[in-house]
């Protein structure tokens, strides 16, 4: 029988809650028309982790890959905003692809240059394990999520106005360029820290799927952000318990549930529209 209050599980519960808060970045990405950005940023995190591990290997010291992961993913998101120029869909998609290609090249190149025991550290960000998080990991995640949440709440209206009508927002004196860069930075930050919890490969399912599902039953931006958080947390907890009792990988189980939630929501709303 599994002790549901075992320290590693308590850390996993906290991580699920933190990921729920971070998942609101997925909602912002959907609203801004850059749904893929957090996932792209989480892949860019792999480049950052590889650099940290490689540096540690070369310098013969330990370099914490987490900071490199979140900074690299946030910087890649800002680079996408910059390269995307006017932030129209075509330019952004091209920029997303370009930046992801650079990050993954760095990852592939540097991963090949470090010994096997360090490859494991890098691969931890590719397919993360929520049950292996340490207290230090949680502290780092908590601070990063806290910073992202603070800015999200502080600039909630700016984000809403720019996503809705960027030209109108600019005409009313809102510094659209500045907030766009900030938004991209925070989405990148969230993608990076989600890669630590669930692994880059599954960030799509963890950030985009709940946000896309919640959009279908949310009538206002505020409720949309809250619904995304709640959906991610609820599915995260259910997935976590299910994985424990079925003895299956936790991240995979949670990602499976969030993806299923998206598919069910989509089918339900399609059926409602037809009916």
């Amino acid at each position: 029988m599994v002790d549901l209050l075992a320290p590693f599980l308590i850390r996993a519960y906290i991580a699920v809650v933190l990921s729920g808060v971070a998942a609101s970045a997925g909602s912002v990405a959907v609203l801004r028309g850059v749904s893929y950005l957090p996932a792209e940023a989480s892949h860019a995190a792999l480049g950052g982790v590889s650099i940290a591990v490689f540096l540690g290997f070369v310098l013969g010291t330990e370099v914490d890959p987490f900071y490199f992961a979140v900074l690299f993913s946030a910087a890649s998101a800002v680079l996408v905003a910059y390269a995307g120029g006017r932030l129209d869909k075509e330019s952004l998609n091209a920029a997303l692809g370009g930046v992801m290609a650079v990050s993954l090249s760095v990852y592939a190149l540097l991963r090949g240059l470090v010994p096997a025991n360090l490859k494991v550290v890098i691969d931890g960000y590719l397919v993360g394990d929520i049950l292996l998080l340490t207290n230090k990991d949680l502290m780092q995640l908590g601070i990063t999520v806290g910073v992202a949440l603070f800015f999200e709440l502080l600039f909630y209206r700016e984000v809403m106005y720019i996503c809705f009508d960027s030209e109108g927002a600019e005409a009313m004196g809102i510094k659209v360029k500045f907030y766009d860069y900030l938004m991209f930075f925070l989405m990148g930050l969230s993608g990076g820290l989600m890669s630590k919890i669930f692994g880059s490969l599954l960030v799509f399912a963890l950030v985009l799927a709940p946000a896309a599902a919640a959009r279908m039953f949310s009538a206002h931006v505020r409720t949309y952000l809250v619904n995304t958080m709640i959906l991610t947390i609820v599915l995260g907890m259910v997935g976590l318990f299910a994985s424990i009792y079925l003895d299956l990988p936790s991240s995979g189980m949670i990602a499976g549930l969030t993806s299923a939630a998206y598919v069910v929501s989509l089918l339900y709303f399609k059926a409602m529209k037809k009916g």
Binding site: F164, D165, R215, H220, V221
Partner: protein
Amino acid sequence: MTYDGRRVLEDVTLQIPVPSITVIIGPNGAGKSVFLRSLIGSIKPSSGSISVLGVDPVAHPDKVKRLVSYVAQKEKFSYAVPIGVNEVVMMGLLADKSIPRIHTKSDDPKVKEALKVVDMGDQYERPFDKLSGGQQQRVLLARSIIRQPRVLILDEPFNAVDVATQNMMIEYLQRLRGKDVGIIIVTHDTNPLACLIEHIMILNKRLIDFGPPKKVLRPEVLAAVYGNNARVLDGEPCPIIVTGDIHG
């Protein structure tokens, strides 16, 4: 004036009187929207200067943005954003407040009043994306007028708008003009406004002509811009009507 590295508008020298109703026409890609956005400081001229009620929008964009209200083309709005009618209009008020732009109790009656003016008082909490094109345009007009601008700029306000909304908007624009508000409208179809237009500005990557309709709307001027797709007809009570170049 350059946009995205391309030269889109040049050789524009004119003075638009405020108050007045001025309509800007020209073919697609003539630089009409760029001209409008330059008035609010969103696009900076590569040479020359602009002054709006004595304020330079490049040097003092914040000052100009308090004098001018701008409604972009409806097609540029994102309908992926779930936002209520009241929130859209509230934007007009909260944009001038300090971050985090918290709305107060005194803001609600203002929003309700602005919506009532455009006959949308009963749609206060409806989702914006559930409104018809005409209703959306009314809400956007309410968002503009709540800011009590000295100059109101509208980019293609009659696109995909029903006749009732068009008439309501024209009537309201007339009232605003009576309150000494300057109104600048980009449109492909001047007909609905024919009796109200005081000045017409014709653009085609440069200023073709500017002045009262009777002076500007001459066959040779329109032919130079539109080719054979436009003509001028005389009529009563408004003597000049432009046909052609009406986009669906």
